[in-house]
Symmetry: C2
């Protein structure tokens, strides 16, 4: 196992950090690593906002549902899909780019671009002995996140990443079976086999929780997913995304 694969396989989300801030040099390295990722047709459709201000971090922590690690960390990054830059380009180059910018395709491009960059950022941080946690909970209230971070149209905050010196080392949760995630030549549509693989995985997850909580928690993965998904969350997103300019046509 080489050092890159070791870092990748050793990933766990860190939700408790030491009281020590990242240096500007560390921040720069992390951002430059993010920027080194592939980007669709060189479009570079993302921006990264770093938050140091304790008041802003506190407000973001509240949006996420009072998660202390959003406020208490070494640095907080917000990754945004960004076509605002290309809206400005349409002024500079005097060309109408609105149909592209408003398209579902370009919304996907911006989202993917931002996520590829983010994963580089997380691995770079982890390789420096730091820990990280993605914060999807920012999407609880993007209207307010946009106010806090002065976000213009054609920019959408997708998630945060809390980074810092780890003050915990949680277990790694077992992932879905390789065979269930990786299909060869085509999607595996044998439903009996599909359900059987999920049943096997349910046992793995149930055993994992049982052992970890000394029997207090025994839930299965499919049970956990059904409980989560039966209560739809963030249903304002469709309108919000459109309000920002994206995903309209």
């Amino acid at each position: 196992m080489n050092p890159v694969i070791e870092t990748i396989m050793n990933h766990r989300s860190i939700r408790k950090f030491e009281e020590k801030l990242l240096t500007d040099e560390q921040i720069r390295t992390i951002v430059e690593c993010a920027q080194a990722a592939s980007t669709s047709s060189f479009i570079q459709a993302y921006s990264i906002i770093g938050v140091k201000d304790p008041n802003k971090k506190q407000r973001l922590a509240e949006i996420v549902g009072n998660q202390a690690y959003v406020a208490e960390n070494g640095h907080f990054f917000v990754f945004c899909g960004d076509l605002h830059r290309h809206q400005v380009i349409s002024e500079i180059e005097e060309k109408d780019l609105s149909t592209s910018l408003e398209s579902t395709e370009k919304f996907m491009v911006a989202t993917i671009d931002a996520a590829l960059a983010a994963q580089n950022a997380v691995l770079a941080a982890e390789s420096m002995g730091l820990g990280a946690c993605y914060i999807g909970g920012l999407r609880n209230n993007l209207e307010e996140v946009c106010q806090i971070l002065n976000i213009p149209t054609f920019v959408i905050p997708l998630f945060g990443i809390a980074v810092g010196y780890p003050a915990q080392m949680p277990d790694k949760k077992p992932r879905l079976p390789f065979e269930h995630v990786y299909h060869e030549e085509g999607y595996q549509q044998d439903k009996d086999l599909y359900k059987q693989e999920l049943a096997t995985y349910n046992q793995t997850i149930s055993d994992y929780y049982t052992q970890r909580t000394k029997g207090k928690r025994t839930d299965t993965w499919t049970g956990q997913m059904a409980n989560m998904l039966e209560n739809p969350k963030r249903m304002y997103m469709k309108d919000f995304v459109k309000k920002q300019g994206f995903n309209q046509q």
Copy 2:
């Protein structure tokens, strides 16, 4: 610079590979690295399809616009956003999950999940001495990609990744200035400064092309972007994404 940061910073898209296939062990390592990425609320909303069949690879290469490297490589991966698994869970757990599955929010989750996994896969491959290239061109015709790969509803192929032993070592294209991508405390909305940063970058890119092509190509980044975006592409995407089940509400 540690080996992880070195691998990240050394990335370039490889579009020409030696005639040598990946071993099943290499494929497994790459997929397991993909699976080690963070996933929103443990939802694991993606699948990966590996394509070995030369006929299928050839058909995919045609969709991309006859790019040889889509057919001629060590292995071809297709990364898909996947909530089909959770549709099956709704049967297993006898719960109606449709509002969640059809939401814009969960479409974003699946897209981000798949992209985080993909970037791990690319870095794992690169750390093993392999090269990789993201293939967004699959989105030229997802209807046909879905037929070739037997894709059910609530699965969407987002992009491919061609992986193999590099037979070229292209230059790295300079990215947007750090200051233009990384904002502190809030999005930088001083438009004059914003345009000035883009002008500086235009010079960087123009110099890069001039030097690389001995003056045959001198285009700026904003010019390149405006030319690309003034011709909207893949405008069928909105309807297609909905047809697959996603992004409806």
